[in-house]
Each structure stands twice: as structure tokens, then as C-alpha cells.
């Protein structure tokens, strides 16, 4: 088995979640999702488009900042990434802050496009490397965007969650996460200890498979070179050996 870094693993995991997508959009401050999307494209049969916010080469928008959102509502974006200062077991995400609103103890930047894109893009992948009880809470303090909705037009929503510890799928009917695999060197117990909500998992949880040599070569070669356009410092760190 090849040696790989956690970042390389996460890129690989994300790329697998994008199989079959025709158009993957990547928002701001998202070097790992961006790399994962570029990797997925390089592994596709050539019919996947990737839009990377902040990129020039991988950004075809010509109608201003509204175009990403219009594309989503038109059904022309298959997958997108969201994070959250807090994420709860119902898939609700909070990008606003902790401890009361509007005057809380901690204020984060704001909801950005989440209160819209989470509703409209079929395959939203929650990506948050930090997997602690600070992030994975029983209930978010502020719902920037809800995980599920009743009686509202909602073709989109959470599909999976990738953290530094494992990969989860989201079951929209049961409104719960299900742990699909645990990353190498971590355990189900560690995940349970660091998660503030209940989630489902099978009797035997498999280990997340790492990238093979050919994938690693892609990540360290062409993907690194391509993501460097938007995230030069991240690309430098990608060269560090495990």
C-alpha cells in the first residue's frame, strides 16, 4: 500500500463521490474539494465540467456572480461543497455564529450561498476537516440552511459528509447520517467520541480505501499543478511527503 497524506486521502474520497457528475462547482476557500473535483474530472471519460470559484482557467462564468446561483436553479450543477462552523445530525449547517443572534459570542463570516444552494444542488457534499464535538453538535445554534425540508420545492440537499475521520452518507428519508467508512488510523469509537449527534453505522465499518499509485501520481502531478493557479500555498503543501 502506498504512503499518502490525509489531504491526499480526502482529495481521493471526494473525487469518488463525484462519479457520474456532468458539472461540479467548487466555491470559495475550498482547495481540497477543488482538487477532488479536478481529480474526478481527470478520471472521467471527458464529460465532466468543473467550475472553481477564484480560478481563471476553470471558471467559465460570464454573467457575473449570479450565474452560479442561476445555474443551480436551472439544474445545471450536479454537485457542490458546503462546510459549517457547526453541523448537526439532521444535516443542518451553521455558518453564522454561536450563542445567540444577532449578538452572539462568536460570529463567523455568514451564510454565503448556503441558504440557496443546499436546496437546489442534488449532490451537496459537506466537507469539514475538523471533526470534533465543537463542530459536530446535537443542534446548530443558527440554521444557515436546513438539512431537509417539508412541503418546499427542494431538488437538492446533503448527499455525503467528508471529515478528517470518516465518510458519511446522508439518508434524506431518515434525516440521519450513516457512517460509510473510517479513514485509516482512526476508529468508529473515536468518531463517536468526537460527534455530538447519533448516526447510523453497520456492524463492521470498512476502512476508507486510500489512493493507489496512479491516483497519487495524478494528485502530485497534474492536479497539484492545476489547483496551484487558485491555491498556490496549498499546492506547495501538497508536495510534502507523508
Amino acid at each position: 500500500m502506498s504512503a499518502f497524506t490525509r489531504t491526499e486521502l480526502l482529495i481521493t474520497v471526494i473525487s469518488r463521490l463525484l462519479r457520474g457528475c456532468h458539472h461540479v462547482a467548487v466555491g470559495a476557500s475550498s482547495p481540497i474539494p477543488g482538487s477532488g473535483a479536478l481529480l474526478a474530472r481527470s478520471l472521467s471519460s471527458g464529460d465532466m465540467r468543473v467550475s472553481v470559484l477564484g480560478s481563471r482557467r476553470n471558471n467559465f462564468f460570464t454573467n457575473g456572480g449570479v450565474e452560479l446561483f442561476d445555474l443551480a436553479a436551472q439544474g445545471r450543477i450536479d454537485a457542490f461543497f458546503l462546510g459549517g462552523g457547526q453541523i448537526d445530525g439532521q444535516g443542518n449547517i451553521n455558518l453564522v455564529g454561536v450563542g445567540g443572534y444577532p449578538r452572539g459570542n462568536v460570529r463567523w463570516p455568514g451564510s454565503f450561498g448556503s441558504a440557496y444552494l443546499y436546496f437546489l444542488i442534488p449532490r451537496v457534499i459537506l466537507f469539514r476537516e475538523e471533526h470534533t464535538r465543537r463542530v459536530m453538535v446535537p443542534q446548530v445554534d443558527f440554521v444557515s440552511a436546513p438539512g431537509t425540508s417539508d412541503g418546499v420545492h427542494r431538488p437538492g440537499g446533503p448527499f455525503a459528509m467528508v471529515t478528517g475521520l470518516g465518510l458519511f452518507y446522508f439518508d434524506r428519508d431518515r434525516r440521519r447520517f450513516r457512517l460509510a467508512s473510517v479513514h485509516p488510523r482512526h476508529t468508529v469509537e473515536e468518531i463517536r467520541d468526537n460527534t455530538g449527534f447519533d448516526f447510523d453505522y453497520p456492524a463492521v465499518v470498512p476502512e476508507t480505501p486510500g489512493p493507489d499509485e496512479s491516483i497519487l501520481a495524478k494528485i502530485r502531478g497534474p492536479i497539484r499543478a492545476e489547483i496551484a493557479e487558485t491555491y498556490p500555498r496549498f499546492a506547495e503543501r501538497l508536495t510534502q511527503k507523508p
Binding site: L117, F119, L120, H153
Partner: protein, 274 residues
């Protein structure tokens, strides 16, 4: 027609009056930082600042300077330099009337003003706590379907839009390129103030390649020519972020004293005016 259209940047900034609803673009789109410096120097007050759709160092400085009464935005961040410290501080101190939004809602509400319609429906939103706190947003039944609630947002009609662009012609036409939201902002606003890197004697509308990405002069109230007018922010491919200054801001602005120090240095810097 172009008499008095071109003015020095301090005169341009005077048209952003106390209490104005001011729309500004996001960091990568052409932020009029030199004009913002004039606003801070003058001590503008009580702004209703609309970030299209998110704010950065410009919003943080205006907030830190006490210029903002109401803030309408989908986020304020210094991007890779971290959170916006004066914004977070003002929130903790309860100094801002906060209107948290989501990016497409800001765009849609401006497009409503552009079209002269009083409101616009938008998908998403329902079930977000944003709706709870935005008493100006409502939910109605889609008149064309059964059991289909949908959010409706009132138009945002800024008194003034303010941004920086690469090029204007002497007739007042401004090249905005792919930054189409600048066009929407100008269409939606009563007045539009533009700073530009340079001007040309040709009519930009005569250039078939560029004409489709030109904001026509009818929307433009005043123009000031300011080299490096977005500094320390980038302007497209013309110049990059001044990362040293942005990092220095992020560090100093963590405290009120540090912020004052940064602003003092910034205000005393020489203006590069054409």
C-alpha cells in the same frame, strides 16, 4: 454631456452622503478602496452598506470606522487572511443593525431593482433562520401551483453604487468585462460612482469586442481616475492583492488600537491620482 463627469476622488466620495444606502462589490470584482479611504477620512456616518454579495476589507474598515449603521450582506471575510475582526467585534458589541442574507438573494433583489419590479421570488431560503430574522422577506404561495410556498424579497435600490474598474472612455462609458454584477448594481442604483485606472479617447461602445461588457454612461454619475484604485486589493489581471498589507491589516485589526494604527498609516499614504 460629460461636463463635470470627471472629478477628483475626494469630490466623488462626497456624493456618498451620510445615511446613504451604499452598494459595493465583493473583493475580486473591483473595490474602490481609494474612494473608501476618502470616505473614512471624511468620517461618513450611518451608511446602510449592501455588500454584493459579500464584504471584505472595505466593509471591515468602514465598520471599524463607525461609518455603518445597517449591514446587509451574505458574509464578511478577509478570505485567506481570516475572519473580519472589526465586523465580528461590532456584532459582539451590538453596534450594527444586521441583515444577514444569502448571496443569490442579494443578487436577485438588485435584479428586481434593475427591472423596476417591487419584489422577486427566490427558491431556497424557507427553513433557514435567515428568514426568521429578515422581517423584510416574506413567503407567499406560488400563484401558479398548488402547495408551493416560495420566498419573496423586496427590491434593493441603492442610493449609490461605488466600484473601481479598469477603464472608462471620455464619454463616461465604463468597461466592466466579466464582472457583470457591476452592471446590475449600476442599473439598480440611483447614482453610480466609479473610479478607474485609466481613460481612453475612443468610444468604448464602438469596439465590437468590448461593447457587450461596457456600462453605458447614462448610469454613471461621476468618475475619478485613480491609479491602483483598488489597492491593497487586486484588480482582475491588472494587479494582484498586496498580500503584505492585507496580512498586516488582518493582524492589526484584531484590536481596536491596532485598527486605529492601520487606518492612520493608510490615511497618511500618498494618493496615486492620475
Amino acid at each position: 454631456m460629460t461636463n463635470g463627469l470627471f472629478v477628483p476622488v475626494n469630490e466623488l466620495s462626497e456624493l456618498v452622503y451620510d445615511g446613504a444606502k451604499l452598494a459595493v462589490p465583493k473583493d475580486s470584482c473591483g473595490v474602490a478602496m481609494e474612494a473608501t479611504r476618502e470616505l473614512v477620512r471624511r468620517g461618513v456616518r450611518d451608511l446602510h452598506l449592501v455588500c454584493v454579495p459579500i464584504g471584505g476589507i472595505q466593509a471591515d474598515i468602514l465598520i471599524g470606522s463607525g461609518a455603518v449603521r445597517t449591514l446587509e450582506t451574505s458574509g464578511v471575510t478577509l478570505g485567506e487572511f481570516g475572519g473580519a475582526p472589526r465586523f465580528a467585534d461590532a456584532i459582539r458589541e451590538g453596534k450594527l443593525a444586521m441583515r444577514d442574507a444569502t448571496c443569490p438573494a442579494v443578487h436577485a433583489a438588485l435584479q428586481a431593482a434593475q427591472k423596476g419590479i417591487p419584489f422577486i421570488p427566490l427558491r431556497g431560503l424557507i427553513g433557514s433562520d435567515l428568514m426568521k430574522h429578515r422581517s423584510d422577506w416574506k413567503v407567499i404561495d406560488n400563484p401558479f401551483a398548488e402547495n408551493d410556498p416560495i420566498a419573496v424579497l423586496p427590491a434593493i435600490r441603492p442610493d449609490v453604487s461605488l466600484f473601481h474598474a479598469p477603464l472608462a472612455d471620455r464619454f463616461g462609458n465604463v468597461f466592466v468585462g466579466r464582472e457583470r454584477e457591476l452592471m446590475t448594481m449600476a442599473h439598480a442604483s440611483r447614482d453610480t460612482l466609479v473610479t478607474v485606472e485609466e481613460t481612453t479617447d475612443e468610444n468604448l461602445l464602438d469596439d465590437d469586442a468590448r461593447a457587450g461588457a461596457v456600462l453605458p454612461a447614462i448610469y454613471v454619475s461621476k468618475i475619478a481616475v485613480v491609479k491602483q484604485g483598488a489597492w491593497p486589493l487586486a484588480l482582475g489581471d491588472i494587479y494582484p492583492d498586496d498580500e503584505t498589507t492585507l496580512a498586516r491589516y488582518a493582524m492589526l485589526a484584531r484590536t481596536a488600537d491596532g485598527f486605529r494604527q492601520f487606518v492612520e498609516e493608510w490615511l497618511s499614504r500618498d494618493l496615486v491620482e492620475a
